[in-house]
């Protein structure tokens, strides 16, 4: 949670991430990291909250991303090494590499990966 809050703080205070096609949205994003579940609340230009939740709370998410812990770790290590995701570690590539995709929802309404 401390990590999520630190990233949230960077995102909320960096104007460079809020313009040029990025930033504003209004959604509840879920993350499944192994057997742990998290929610990120986005409101406008702010990630207003990050919290650890139970699996049942994924129902409240507009969509959630799920990968094994080792894959999340590999992505973060790639970002740490290069300053941004490269090659096989962008969310787009991670999604395309998976037959079931990276994003889904409990309501079966994430019918295509965008």
């Amino acid at each position: 949670m401390a990590w999520f809050d630190a990233v949230r703080d960077i995102y909320n205070h960096d104007d460079a991430m809020h313009g040029a096609g990025s930033g504003s949205c209004d959604c509840v994003v879920g993350l499944q990291v192994g057997r742990e579940f998290f929610q990120l609340i986005f409101e406008g230009f702010e990630c207003s909250e990050a919290r650890k939740v139970t699996k049942a709370k994924l129902d409240e998410c507009d969509f959630y991303l799920h990968m094994p812990s080792k894959d999340w770790r590999a992505m973060l290590q790639n970002i740490q090494e290069h300053g941004h995701a490269t090659d096989n570690y962008t969310l787009n590539t991670l999604d395309l590499d998976r037959a079931e995709g990276l994003s889904t929802s409990t309501h079966n309404d994430q019918v295509f990966s965008i």
Binding site: G21, S22, S24, G44, T90, N92, L96, V111, I114
Partner: protein
């Protein structure tokens, strides 16, 4: 500079009395000030500002199933008696509505980007000639798709009743998105001293341009045939991007296209939910669109250009590049079938053209 002739003109006026010189202004009646369909409803800005959708409270939020007013009277305003109608043909909510239209409009406004300044064009350098030419060819194709999108959307937009301004405003942003898409890809084609390539075969484009049966049917082609394929293609281009500049363009365009796809699919779902008998025409439109897409795919230009990009050049195009191209087609088919399942359209793999069926695939020249 004043002349003698000016003096001649002014002199008679100066000879008038003070009362004669004063212009007669009628007493203001102010009878318009107490006329409003609803007064006193206040909407307060939220964390995202004062959004379009948040204005839909009280009478101003009543969005009826039919809007018979064929003038440009804003929803909630008092119309002028005797105004002649304009060319409003789409007056039923079922023919254009998507519940997310206002939110999509707001997102489009807040997530806008400018290819001229938000893309670091100084950071791009020429690629090996075969790859550069292939990218330029793909850029040409995407430019043309964008031109068609603008023409199709704008040709329908003005026919929509103003009672559904959320949709009209959102579609205005999709026109801008498409224009920006054209701009960005044209710039990418020319930035390294290259040029544009061949125009595409245009079978799907012709279908979209000539679609006159209804906006819902046009949206079916625009999203499920053209839009979804473009989206998947750009996702694969993102994966195989050669530099950060291309990746930036592809990522921004992906977001823009996502809004159009969301509107299109949610509108079709709304239409089918309120007029289930439309399923037949939507299904037929999709079937025809797939046949047109099949004809487009027979042309080798786009396929070969993508294979070169995916394969890292001509040597890698035949095997690795074509393998990724087919993988991209398979991804498009999966997205299409998923969307059709969501919409409860009875589309199966076996109904699609053989080139889109993994086991039946055979392209001319393979």
């Amino acid at each position: 500079m004043a002349t003698a002739k000016d003096a001649d003109r002014v002199r008679p006026a100066l000879t008038l009395s003070k009362e004669e010189r004063e212009v007669e202004v009628p007493e203001p009646r102010l009878n318009w000030m107490n006329q409003s369909r609803e007064w006193g409803i206040r909407v307060k800005p939220g964390k995202k500002g004062l959004t379009l959708g948040s204005l839909n409270v009280g009478l101003y939020g009543e969005i009826p199933m039919n809007w018979p007013d064929r003038t440009r009277n804003p929803r909630g305003a008092i119309g002028v008696t005797g105004s002649p109608p304009v060319a409003i043909q789409i007056k039923d909510k079922v023919d254009l509505w998507a519940p997310c239209a206002a939110d999509l409009y707001e997102e489009a406004i807040q997530r806008r980007w400018a290819p001229a300044t938000d893309v670091d064009w100084t950071a791009i350098h020429p690629l090996p000639e075969d790859v550069e030419r292939a990218i330029c060819q793909v850029c040409t194709e995407i430019c043309q798709y964008a031109i068609i999108d603008v023409e199709v959307i704008t040709s329908w937009q003005h026919q929509m009743a103003y009672g559904y301004h959320e949709v009209k405003q959102f579609l205005a942003t999709t026109s801008l998105d498409a224009t920006r898409r054209h701009e960005a890809f044209r710039k990418r084609a020319l930035v390294n001293g290259g040029g544009l390539g061949y125009e595409g075969p245009c079978q799907v484009s012709r279908l979209l341009l000539e679609s006159r049966g209804g906006w819902t049917e046009t949206v079916t082609g625009l999203t499920l045939v053209r839009g979804l394929f473009t989206q998947v293609m750009i996702r694969y281009l993102t994966r195989f991007a050669y530099n950060g500049v291309e990746r930036k363009i592809y990522e921004c365009v992906t977001q823009d296209l996502a809004r159009l796809l969301t509107y299109g699919i949610e509108h079709i779902k709304y239409a089918l939910g309120h007029a289930p008998d439309r399923q037949g025409s939507i299904f037929t439109t999709l079937a025809i669109g797939m046949r047109m897409f099949n004809r487009d795919l027979r042309d080798p230009v786009l396929r070969e250009a993508l294979a070169i990009i995916f394969g890292g050049g001509i040597p890698g195009a035949r095997n690795e590049g074509m393998h990724v191209f087919y993988e991209m087609l398979d991804e498009y088919v999966q997205e299409l079938l998923s969307a059709c399942q969501y919409l409860r359209l009875p589309v199966t793999m076996e109904q699609l053209p053989r080139v889109l069926q993994k086991d039946q695939r055979h392209l001319p020249g393979d």
